[in-house]
Amino acid sequence: MTSKDPSTSVERDKDFRDLLVAIIPSLRAFARGLCGNRDLADDMVQDAMTRAWAARESFAPGSNFRAWIFMILRNHYYTTLRKNARVASWDPELAERVLVAGPTQYDRLNVQDVQAALLKLPAEQREVLLLIGANGVSYEEAADIMGCAVGTIKSRLARGRVALAALIDGPPFEDKVTPGRKGTRASELTSAS
């Protein structure tokens, strides 16, 4: 009578439920940043929660729950991304605003502009910026979640920051007459693995 004891499994399920409740806000923020759409993001989070619940026996109590469920959400995101281009789409008007916004007001970046710029980055850079820059996950945890080396995480983060800064700054002042088509890299979103 160890793990088959019904009272024990109920206790474990209750603990698991508490972990789920506590992680919802972080999951929503991560998903929102990834796909830039509130409804789509919330749908993905609910799917991830349902999958996590169904797979709860495979979660070792005491191990890193955040990394475990972020991995489920992330895998779900990439599956959805491959099936549905809508996930990678963004509001073109928002994207235009990012391009015309000059380097002034750089100290108070508009959150929506940053979100729009994030959506133009390759998905692997977007997710590392969200995990570490927004969610405050460590390099090691991000490496666990993304299934790659810490060095890879660091280089993606560095490249992502440079790319994001370039997008937010927009074209240099001299080029202002031609806002350019920096935003035509949406294909990268769907091609990134």
Partner: protein, 63 residues
């Protein structure tokens, strides 16, 4: 050899510059996160949790 590598990594991470507090991109990314976290939980999440609660209750055989 692993020890040496750990030392090198340690030295490197110590020399890694922490992002300054006034880093605008870092601030915006955190705000992006904090804004969503501050939102009240939508009803569909409460419904999902309600379903989970019912499944747990059913296990206890107290129907």
């Amino acid at each position: 050899m692993p020890k040496k590598r750990a030392l090198i990594q340690g030295a490197r991470s110590a020399s890694d510059k922490m992002k300054p507090a006034d880093d605008p991109i870092g601030t915006a990314l955190r705000r992006l996160h904090d804004d969503v976290v501050a939102e009240p939980l939508p009803d569909e999440f409460l419904r999902l949790l309600g379903e989970i609660d019912r499944k747990i209750t059913r296990q206890t055989g107290e129907e």
